[in-house]
């Protein structure tokens, strides 16, 4: 009997080993997601005495008619777009600059690694201190060194969103740096040497050899950044709470507000499902076409 069981376990080791993870993922991920879809078809206001009520796709229709949704989506796109450009330019240029032999190169690189492994909440507070309009070092340096006026980094509706993009790009450009450095290591030295013998300048080598060879891996990491920045929450919560006014309210932040400040669970669920569709759409392309190559 015991022998039979052992044999059976041995044959089905795959299922046995996978079962706990599978159950956990079903329980705390798949089930909540399905419940979220279900909730999105209800009018469910925790703050109102009315019970929850089935309303079909009305939440979705309301969302599409709500200008607050469209503006928040635009802000998300702004963060994603400007952020991707900033991170790419900074990370790639530093990668090219560091692509030379010198002592202490590894230690230097590891300094740039710090922002990507620490809590975004901490990063947000570091920048909140730096952006402080009256007492922050940034405005002080602008005043004293560059003779410029103080900038209301977080309190002006037309600057705040850019301030968030700057802090976020500061946090994540090192990731592009790592990818660039990893990619450069894989380019055979012969390519570069041959070009040098032919008299190519550093710029020409970068433009015609390095960029084309690194393009696929840079595209991959850019898509990853697009997905991650679309979900940006911590920096916005700490730096501006979506304000001043609604000037930094992104789609993700609006979903949070609707759910946990206004307690409109149905509406918030519908927003999160829409967000999910966008993210999963990009992620599916990324993962299927690029990350998993067989």
């Amino acid at each position: 009997m015991l022998g039979h069981m052992r044999q059976w376990a041995n044959r089905n080791i795959g299922g046995l080993f996978l079962a706990p993870s599978f159950l956990i993922i079903i329980l705390i991920c798949a089930f909540p997601l399905i419940y979220s879809i279900y909730m999105s078809f209800f009018s469910w206001e925790l703050a109102s005495p009315l019970p929850k009520r089935f309303i079909g796709v009305e939440n979705y229709l309301n969302i599409f008619q709500d200008s607050r949704f469209w503006f928040s989506l635009l802000r998300s796109i702004y963060i994603v777009g400007i952020g991707a450009i900033l991170q790419m330019v900074l990370g790639f240029s530093l990668g090219i600059l560091l692509n030379r032999e010198f002592k202490g190169r590894n230690i230097l690189t590891s300094f740039f690694l710090i922002p990507v492994v620490i809590s975004p909440v901490v990063i947000a507070f570091m920048w909140k201190m730096i952006y402080s309009e009256q007492y922050g070092p940034l405005n002080y340096i602008l005043n004293v060194v560059f003779y410029l006026k103080s900038v209301p980094w977080l309190s002006n509706t037309s600057v705040a969103l850019l301030s968030i993009v700057i802090a976020n790009s500061w946090e994540w450009f090192p990731l592009i740096l790592l990818v660039t450095m990893g990619g450069l290591q894989n380019i055979p030295d012969d390519y570069i040497h041959a070009a040098q013998i032919d008299g190519a300048s550093g710029w020409q080598i970068t433009r015609w050899i390095i960029i084309p060879l690194l393009a696929p891996v840079l595209l991959t990491i850019t898509l990853i950044r697009v997905i991650e920045d679309f979900k940006l929450f911590d920096l916005i919560y700490v730096l501006t709470h979506g304000g001043p006014g609604m000037s930094t309210e992104t789609l993700n932040y609006l979903t949070y507000l609707k759910g946990f400040k206004f307690f409109s669970f149905g509406y918030s669920s519908a927003l999160s499902i829409l967000q999910m569709i966008v993210v999963i759409g990009i992620a599916a392309i990324l993962v299927k076409k690029i990350l998993i190559k067989d």
Binding site: W170, F265, I273
Partner: protein, 278 residues
């Protein structure tokens, strides 16, 4: 001609190092400012011109931050992150091996794991909040550990699948022919060979919950208070205690920074979702 070229090269190198220096300055300055602030005494943050380097190393802010919830926050964050890490290491290793055994011929089986990892947290946080409320799990360790596991476990499985791929199948087959059971293959061959893969898995499955904010914000109240909610709470109090915020933040970043610098080589693959195999 030759000297001109050499001179040009020298200038190029100089400019390159100058730019690298600027990058380094911009990257490190916020840290410098935070550390400097953490040593300031009450009120020194609110001066103009700002104080760049305080006169003395004053640990008052650290002590005050630890007293006003910081100590409990460090412990709570550690408990949540450590247990999440254990779950990810144990179930993740088993899950990755199981998945590979089941789908040896199937391709792209890591697909769903990565998709789950990339999903917007808010989409599960809202239904989980209702679920946890219903079963009275809000404000407990299990709520935060389970919540973090949503993302940590699939990521661990996916990372480990990558490392499993690097183990040649003939090694396993040879052991099976020699009469090993599949369990013995797993414990005596796979696990030792996976060792270098377990380092990044341990790192990420500890650091993600340690740094996580949204779930901490939504699932915690007063009994369980992770760092990422206690640090902002220091600001919400009557006077903004910037020194304390800075002090607790410094303590919060020490573990990830040290581990990342020591294991730099191992964690690049995870950071880039496999785009770069470090």
């Amino acid at each position: 001609m030759k000297t001109l070229k050499a001179k040009k090269k020298k200038i190029n190198t100089f400019v390159a190092f100058l730019l690298i220096g600027i990058f380094l300055l911009v990257t490190l300055f916020p840290f410098f400012w935070m550390i400097s602030t953490s040593f300031k005494i009450k009120g020194e943050f609110f001066t103009r011109p700002p104080i760049f380097i305080p006169d003395r190393f004053n640990f008052d802010a650290y002590r005050a931050a630890l007293r006003s919830g910081g100590q409990k926050a460090l412990i709570d964050s550690f408990i949540i992150a450590f247990i999440s890490m254990c779950i990810a290491l144990i179930l993740g290793t088993m899950g990755a091996y199981g998945l590979r055994e089941l789908l040896k011929k199937g391709k792209n089986y890591g697909f769903w794991m990565l998709i789950i990892e990339m999903m917007p947290p808010i989409a599960v946080v809202l239904p989980l909040f209702i679920l946890f409320k219903y079963v009275h799990l809000l404000d407990t360790y299990p709520a935060l550990i389970l919540g973090n596991t949503v993302f940590v476990l699939p990521f661990a499985i996916w990372l480990l699948l990558g490392f499993l791929e690097d183990i040649p199948i003939p090694i396993e087959e040879a052991a099976l022919i020699d009469g090993c059971s599949k369990f013995q293959v797993f414990s005596h061959i796979i696990l030792p060979l996976l060792r270098s893969g377990l380092i990044p898995v341990a790192f990420f499955s500890f650091i993600l919950p340690w740094n996580e904010f949204l779930m901490a914000l939504v699932f915690s109240r007063t009994k369980v208070t992770p760092l990422t909610v206690v640090i902002p709470s220091l600001v919400m109090s009557d006077t903004v205690a910037w020194e304390q915020v800075a002090g607790l933040s410094v303590m919060a970043i020490i573990p990830p920074v040290i581990v990342a610098m020591v294991f730099q080589r191992y964690i690049i693959r995870g950071l880039t979702f496999g785009a770069v195999k470090g």
